[in-house]
């Protein structure tokens, strides 16, 4: 498969505060890469930099080509972010939310096909497609946010804390679907505080602390690593 995204020397500043201080990553095509770390470590900032939502130093290459510095152009490259906190458009219907996800997709028939795909995956969304998306439950909103991301036909889907604030049963559901998305051939970057679950499903993982990669390895290796266990596995069961 090979590498699809290479990040070298990534730095992000908020004013004078350096939130990401020289991060290197190599994302393999068709894999799930987990980025774990505690609150404020810089995980969201890293994927915002990939999306072009924050200014950065260093290089981000997709198959050797630098990514454009603007969100809408990054999406057109097939790199799509599902933001932290779901951020569905309350006030738009479920179906309209899905259609915003397909903003860069051309052709009415193609968009209808994508819609059907999402509805088949989550019949609940079909039932509620004319309903204000703001009235969905937290779990349903997360499914909607993921489907909205899939509507863009991504090569790389970046999920920021998809399990945040969800009941354990729903969390299992979300993680099952993340694996299924990977199995369909989409590269997944999974940002999570739920280290145990994400290390369980990922192919490779990076551990971030105060803007730096402090450890990396396969999910298996990380799960067995005593340092990881001490720092993240004890307290991560929310």
């Amino acid at each position: 498969m090979g590498s699809i995204l290479q990040i070298q020397g990534l730095k992000v500043f908020y004013g004078v505060h350096e939130a990401v201080c020289g991060v290197d990553m190599d994302i393999q095509e068709g894999s799930i890469t987990a980025i774990i770390g505690s609150n404020g470590a810089g995980k969201t900032t890293i994927i915002k930099a990939i999306s072009g939502a924050v200014k950065h130093e260093g290089t981000i290459l997709c198959r050797g080509v630098p990514l454009p510095p603007r969100e809408n152009r990054v999406v057109r490259q097939g790199i799509v972010q599902v933001p932290e906190g779901r951020k569905i458009f309350a006030g738009l219907t479920v179906e309209e939310n899905l259609r915003t996800g397909a903003y860069t997709v051309r052709g009415r028939r193609e968009i209808d096909r994508l819609l059907q795909e999402q509805y088949e995956m989550f019949p609940r969304l079909r039932e509620r497609r004319q309903q204000d998306a703001g009235t969905l439950s937290g779990g349903e909103q997360q499914m909607l946010a993921i489907c909205r991301g899939l509507m863009a036909k991504p090569k790389i889907l970046m999920l920021d804390e998809p399990s945040l604030g969800l009941a354990p049963v729903v969390v299992n559901d979300v993680f099952r679907n993340i694996r299924r998305i990977r199995d369909e051939g989409i590269t997944v970057i999974l940002v999570e505080q739920n280290a145990k679950k994400s290390l369980g499903i990922c192919d490779y993982a990076y551990v971030i602390e105060t803007g730096r990669v402090v450890m990396s390895g396969t999910g298996e290796e990380m799960l067995q690593n005593p340092e990881v266990a001490a720092a993240y596995l004890g307290s991560s069961r929310k």
Binding site: S51, P83, G91, L92, T100, Y103
Partner: protein, 293 residues
């Protein structure tokens, strides 16, 4: 008589709706009340007047409407470029938009006053006081024309906003610009589109008001106040609230003028707006209630 007043009120209200919607659409995206809208209405009323007057035989009305709408678009984009774009780039507080828009409004009005302040300009008299009857009800052809044009424009606009790709993008950016960009929406393009739509609406309402009243530099300012009242009553930034509110306002205004005269009427109208702001600041629709103003 009552029915004639009602129709006249709906016709007036439909122009207020055009103004209120032009106002509301900018508010929904940028969260500021674009007072420059009134200046654009005045300027476009004059443009329409001189366009119409420059022909020996006046062109069909829709030609004047289209021409002025295009001028309105150009003017709106020009104003955005010189006054608003930098505020956006610097992500400065909304207050700066507000100040810039008032400055532009006054500037346009003053420029118009310097050149055309001494006279009233009446549109070439093609529509003047012609009336027709359906059954026993007398219709003014100006009122009817205004009503038809306004309703057509409003229908087209609502279709664009609710049924098209760019309309969906506009609604998404109004709700959450940062997340919209993650969907691949270019929010700068959406903002420019919104200014273009507002400009076209200003142009069209300028011509319609010019034919109904005569044209003078503060025409837009005084009419925009009505659009503003309507968009407050409808819920700032809400298109679905602004339209019924504007039509209601037009009807109330016509009836009040009939009963109380044209001097007392504005007092009552502003009284209504104050009451609304006090008891229901989110307007009729109640949508977009938070983080407005």
């Amino acid at each position: 008589m009552t029915l004639q007043l009602l129709i006249s009120g709906i016709s007036l209200g439909s122009v207020y709706a055009l103004i209120a919607v032009g106002f509301a659409i900018v508010f929904s995206i940028l969260r500021f009340s674009n007072f420059a809208h009134g200046g654009m209405i005045s300027a476009c009323a004059f443009i329409g007047y001189f366009f119409q007057a420059s022909f020996e035989t006046p062109p069909p009305f829709y030609v004047t409407v289209l021409f002025t709408a295009v001028c309105g678009v150009v003017m709106a984009l020009f104003i955005d470029t010189i006054a608003y774009r930098r505020i956006r780039k610097k992500q400065a507080p909304t207050l700066y938009y507000f100040l810039a828009s008032i400055t532009i409004a006054i500037l346009i009005e003053q420029i118009l006053s310097v050149f055309f302040g001494k006279n009233l300009y009446g549109y070439p008299q093609i529509f003047e006081s012609t009336t027709f009857y359906i059954g026993s009800i007398r219709f003014s052809s100006i009122d009817t024309l205004i009503l038809v044009v306004s309703l057509v424009i409003l229908t087209v606009l609502l279709f664009v906003i609710n049924k098209t790709r760019i309309g969906l993008a506009i609604r998404a950016v109004a709700i959450d610009p940062a997340t919209s960009r993650l969907m691949g929406i270019n929010s700068d393009v959406v903002i420019i589109t919104v200014f273009a739509i507002a400009g076209a609406l200003a142009g069209i309402s300028g011509v319609l008001l010019g034919t109904k009243y005569s044209v003078y530099p503060s025409l837009g300012a005084s009419m925009m106040i009505k659009g503003f009242i309507a968009s407050v009553i409808g819920g700032l930034g809400s298109l679905s609230g602004a339209i019924p509110a504007a039509i209601l306002l037009g009807v109330v205004e016509i009836f009040l003028t009939y009963w109380l005269g044209s001097l007392a009427t504005p007092i009552v109208l502003f009284g209504i707006m104050l009451v609304f702001l006090a008891i229901r600041p989110e307007g009729i629709s109640g949508k977009f209630a938070k983080d407005k103003v």
